[in-house]
Amino acid sequence: MSVNEETYHIINSYLSGKLTGRALDKFKIDLRNDASLREAVVTQRSIIKAVETAKEKELKSFITSEVNKTRAIPYPKMRGALASAAVIAILAIVIFTLAPISHKKNNNTAQEEQKKPLMVARDNAPDTILESAETIYRETTQVDTQTFARVESAPILELEPEVESIEDDHLDMSGMDTIEESIGLDFEDDIADKADRYDINKKPTKLAGTSSKLGKTTTKDIDLIVRSDELLGKKSYPVYAAALNPLDRTTNVGEVTIQSNNKLSRKERKAKNKKEAEDNSSRSRSTVTRSIMVEYWQSVVNYKGYQYDGTQVKLYGVNQLKSLRFVELDNRLYLKLNSEQYFLEKNTKHNRLIQVTNPTLLKVLNE
């Protein structure tokens, strides 16, 4: 049954299908005739199959061991590590995402608080002048324009030293009646108005951390009241008509008159026209074209100006007691206040009062 090397290689080729042609035919004839060769082929086939099975078994055990190794040890560890990493990453994202939002929110809140006026009231002393640190700051840096007032928000923290310095001055100048006097500010509105502006009776909120040396006021006494623009009152005023040339208003009448009196003498006509012109002039000055509603407003930022939408005028920072006179000239509205003429522009914005300086116009308006 033992075969030589050549036969072994031929059997190998036969079993692997590599034996072809005449060699294959010859081998098949030998196989048919030689029993020992058949036995050798069977043995070799069995051995080859066993070698393959052994190798397959080895590979399977290798795969199983490798897979089990990774399943048993690294996988759970890796999974745990990955899970931990994922949790950390999510937390980091959440923190870094939410932190700026909350910070922004806090900033916004702080800014809103800064924008709103903080009123300070002294408990148990409603009859005294009430001031807030912010009010003092604002009035020291007061500007008439609403726009600038909005931009120029007074940060609380920056105010504190100033308030203290003012208060120190106030303490030193005990002879002064008010803070305004002590710091030498020139307020147009009278002090009595300030008491009206501030709502003393409302229960105030405390401003923590703000120190005040105003009189007996302590940190606990400093209160905040958020205020908005306040309507003080309404009044209806007549609007008088005016013309640069009073004769213009009566031109048509004059033309008719001239046409009807063509036959009158020149002297008579001149005298008659003069008389009519004087009559018209006096009539036009007293002619009321319409009435206009005037609202008196108190701005929280002490803004002085007006808002005129064509039908009503909102006046900011103007005392109700002062007399007003409205004159309309060439569809333009003029306001006479404190013997000064102001032009009121028709728009929805807040405007400053613009004084009329044109002497000719002033002459017409004051007639």
Binding site: M1, S2, E5, Y8, H9, E39, V42, T43, Q44, S46, I47, I48, K49, A50, V51, E52, T53, A54, K55, E56, K57, E58, L59, K60, F62, I63, T64, E66, V67, T70, P74, M78
Partner: protein, 187 residues
């Protein structure tokens, strides 16, 4: 080694041709979920998944080293095709077993047992061989490596040395097998 990332198909095949057995593990892991889903959906269980996948990657291994092997699809597609064929074959075998009557089954089982026993004994004899001979024979018969590659792997001088060494190892194994069994056992 293969925890992260994916190795290109041609790299896997090249490595397999060079006898890198780690590629089997890689393919096993890469395709485990796919094969598992398929087998579980087709009346299989977890144990069957392991068996089928092991047979599949070993079949890929053997085919890769055939001289006329040419991969014409994605490796995963090829592997899934093999796995499906193996599983359907297994299912067919299982069904066939159920249809066989008891007598035939017992008789057939007896034959199978006899052949398996013989084969298992030879396998155990192969496993008892010295490492070099065993590796040489498995490289040649199982892996299908060329004699040149075997010479490189086993540090032999050349292909002819491999051929003669192979004959010697085979003769040794054959003598062992014949000494343990009568020739009727092998027929």
């Amino acid at each position: 080694m293969f925890g992260i990332g994916k190795i290109a198909d041609h790299t896997v095949l090249d490595n397999m041709k060079q006898g890198d057995e780690q590629m089997l593990v890689y393919l096993y892991k890469q395709h485990y979920t796919m094969v598992k889903n398929f087998v579980l959906k087709n009346s299989g269980d977890e144990n069957a998944v392991d068996d089928i996948l092991q047979d599949t990657v070993i079949a890929v291994w053997k085919n890769t080293n055939k001289p006329n092997f040419l991969l014409q699809s994605k490796l995963s597609t090829y592997i899934m095709a093999i796995a499906k064929n193996l599983w359907f074959k297994e299912l067919k075998k299982r069904t066939k077993f159920k249809l066989v009557d008891e007598d035939n089954h017992l008789e057939h089982g007896k034959d199978e047992m006899h052949l398996d026993m013989d084969q298992n004994i030879i396998v155990s004899l192969v496993e008892q061989m010295d490492d070099n001979c065993r590796r040489l024979l498995s490289y040649f018969y199982f892996d299908g490596f060329s004699t040149k590659l075997i010479a490189e792997k086993l540090n032999y001088a050349n292909a002819n040395t491999v051929k003669s060494k192979k004959y010697q190892c085979f003769k040794k194994l054959q003598a062992t097998v014949i000494s343990q069994y009568k020739k009727e056992d092998l027929l």
